[in-house]
C-alpha cells in the first residue's frame, strides 16, 4: 500500500502539474511557496483526501499547517484516521 506522502505526491504530480516539475515536491516543501496550489487547488486537494481516506475536513482544519506540504498532510491524515478509528472502537 502506498504511503500518504507518495499517494498525495502522485495526485499532485498528475492533476496539478501534469507530470511537470514534480522533482521540486520534497516532503517538507510548501505547496504555496512552490506556487503549485492556490485556494481552488486546496479545495480540490481536500476532496481528494476526503474521498481517498474516508475523512471529513472541517472548516477549522483548512489551514496551511494541515495541508501545505506532504509532511503536513501525512501528519494530518494520521491524526484524522486515528480519531476515526478511536471513535469506531469506543
Amino acid at each position: 500500500m502506498k504511503s500518504v506522502r507518495d499517494h498525495v505526491k502522485e495526485y499532485i504530480s498528475e492533476n496539478f502539474l501534469m507530470g511537470l516539475k514534480d522533482a521540486a515536491i520534497t516532503d517538507d516543501a510548501s505547496f504555496l511557496d512552490l506556487g503549485i496550489i492556490d485556494s481552488t487547488g486546496v479545495i480540490e486537494l481536500i476532496a481528494f483526501l476526503e474521498e481517498s481516506y474516508g475523512i471529513r475536513v472541517d472548516d477549522a482544519e483548512m489551514v496551511p499547517e494541515n495541508l501545505d506540504s506532504l509532511d503536513a498532510i501525512d501528519r494530518f491524515i494520521a491524526r484524522k484516521t486515528f480519531a476515526r478509528a478511536s471513535s469506531m472502537t469506543a
Partner: protein
C-alpha cells in the same frame, strides 16, 4: 486638498481630486484619440465605480461622445436601475436600456446555476434566492465558499461548496458579466467608441472581475484608485447622493450580497488601508496599529491579499503566444 482617508495620522489614501480628475480626463481623451475612436461606452450599474467612470468619460469627451448602457436582468435590484437612471439623467448622456434576461435564459445561465445549487440543496427551486459567501482568510484558513439559499418561507440553508459545484455556479453566473460585455462591444463597434472598464484598485489588484466579462475593456480609468478615493471623487464631482451612500454590492446573486461577503475579507475602508500599507512597505505591526487589530489578524490580512493575487494572477494574463 481634500483627504480621502486619514487613519492614525496616516494619509496614504489622500489625493487631490481636482488634479486626479484633470489627469484622468486628459489620459482618457488621449487614449480615445490614439485608438482612433470617437467616444466611449460605459455600462452603468447604479454603483459608485461605474458612476464615477461615466462622469469621468463626460469630463474627458463631453456628454454627446458617451453612451451609457443600463443592462439589467431579472435578478438585478430595481434600486440599482433607478440609481443608474438618476445618474445618466444628471450627466445628460444618451443611454440605452437592454434587459439581458432572455439572452441569459437562452445561454442556460439560470438553469445551469440552479442545477448546480440543487445538487447541493435538492429542495432549491422557484422562489428561492441564493448567494455565495467567502470564508476562511481572516481565520488563517484557506479561502473557501459557502452557498447560502433562502426559501420562499424564509428557511435558510448554508452549505460549504465542493470545487465542482462552486465552479459550476460561478461559471454560470459569469454569463451575466460576459453578456453585458457583448452588448457593450456591440455599441462600441457600431459607434466606433471605446469600452470603459470600471474596476477600482481593490477589484483590479485582488482579481475581483470576470475574465472577458467585466474585466474586458479598452480603458480602465479608475483601476489605480482605492475605493475610498472613488467615493471621494464621486462626492467631489457631485454625483447623486444615493449612489454615494449605497453599500457596494455585486448585484449578481439573487440574495442581497455585499462585496465583502462574496470576495473581500474586509469592508473596503479597512481593505483600502491594508492594501495601501502593503504597497508602501509598511509592516504588520504598523497595519495592526492603523486598523486597531492584533498583529496576527494583520498578518492574515496581508496573507489573504497575497493569496487572492496568486489565485487570480491568470485573469490578468494576455493570451500566451508560442515562441517559434
Amino acid at each position: 486638498m481634500e483627504l480621502a482617508q486619514k487613519e492614525n495620522g496616516v494619509s496614504l489614501l489622500a489625493i487631490d481630486y481636482d488634479l486626479a480628475i484633470d489627469d484622468i480626463s486628459r489620459q482618457f481623451k488621449e487614449t480615445v484619440v490614439r485608438f482612433r475612436r470617437r467616444g466611449a461606452v460605459v455600462a452603468v450599474s447604479g454603483g459608485v465605480d461605474s458612476a464615477v467612470c461615466c462622469a469621468l468619460a463626460v469630463r474627458a469627451l463631453g456628454p454627446q461622445r458617451v453612451l451609457a448602457l443600463l443592462l439589467p436582468e431579472r435578478e438585478s435590484s430595481g434600486a440599482s436601475e433607478r440609481l443608474a437612471r438618476e445618474l445618466v439623467e444628471m450627466l445628460g448622456v444618451p443611454y440605452e436600456r437592454k434587459d439581458i434576461t432572455d439572452t441569459l435564459e437562452a445561454l442556460g445561465c439560470y438553469d445551469r446555476r440552479d442545477s448546480a445549487i440543487r445538487s447541493v440543496v435538492p429542495e432549491y427551486g422557484h422562489g428561492w434566492r441564493n448567494k455565495l459567501v467567502i470564508a476562511g482568510g481572516l481565520s488563517g484558513q484557506f479561502n473557501h465558499f459557502y452557498l447560502i439559499v433562502v426559501g420562499p418561507d424564509g428557511r435558510r440553508v448554508e452549505q460549504r461548496l465542493g470545487l465542482k459545484e462552486y465552479l459550476e455556479i460561478v461559471a454560470a453566473t459569469n454569463f451575466k458579466q460576459r453578456t453585458r460585455k457583448n452588448v457593450e462591444y456591440f455599441h462600441a463597434d457600431r459607434l466606433n467608441y471605446v469600452v470603459v472598464g470600471t474596476p477600482n484598485k481593490l477589484e483590479y489588484d485582488q482579481g475581483f472581475f470576470v475574465k472577458n466579462g467585466d474585466g474586458a475593456a479598452d480603458i480602465k480609468p479608475i483601476a489605480h484608485l482605492y475605493k475610498t478615493q472613488v467615493y471621494g471623487l464621486a462626492r467631489h464631482m457631485g454625483l447623486p447622493h444615493d449612489i454615494i451612500e449605497s453599500t457596494p454590492t455585486s448585484d449578481t446573486y439573487s440574495l442581497p450580497q455585499e462585496q465583502e461577503d462574496f470576495y473581500f475579507a474586509l469592508p473596503y475602508p479597512q481593505l483600502d488601508i491594508a492594501l495601501a500599507f502593503l504597497e508602501a512597505g509598511r509592516n504588520t505591526t504598523e497595519l495592526a496599529a492603523a486598523l486597531d487589530i492584533d498583529e496576527l489578524s494583520a498578518r492574515r490580512i496581508y496573507a489573504d491579499i497575497a493569496a487572492k493575487r496568486r489565485t487570480t494572477r491568470y485573469l490578468h494574463e494576455a493570451p500566451v503566444l508560442i515562441k517559434g
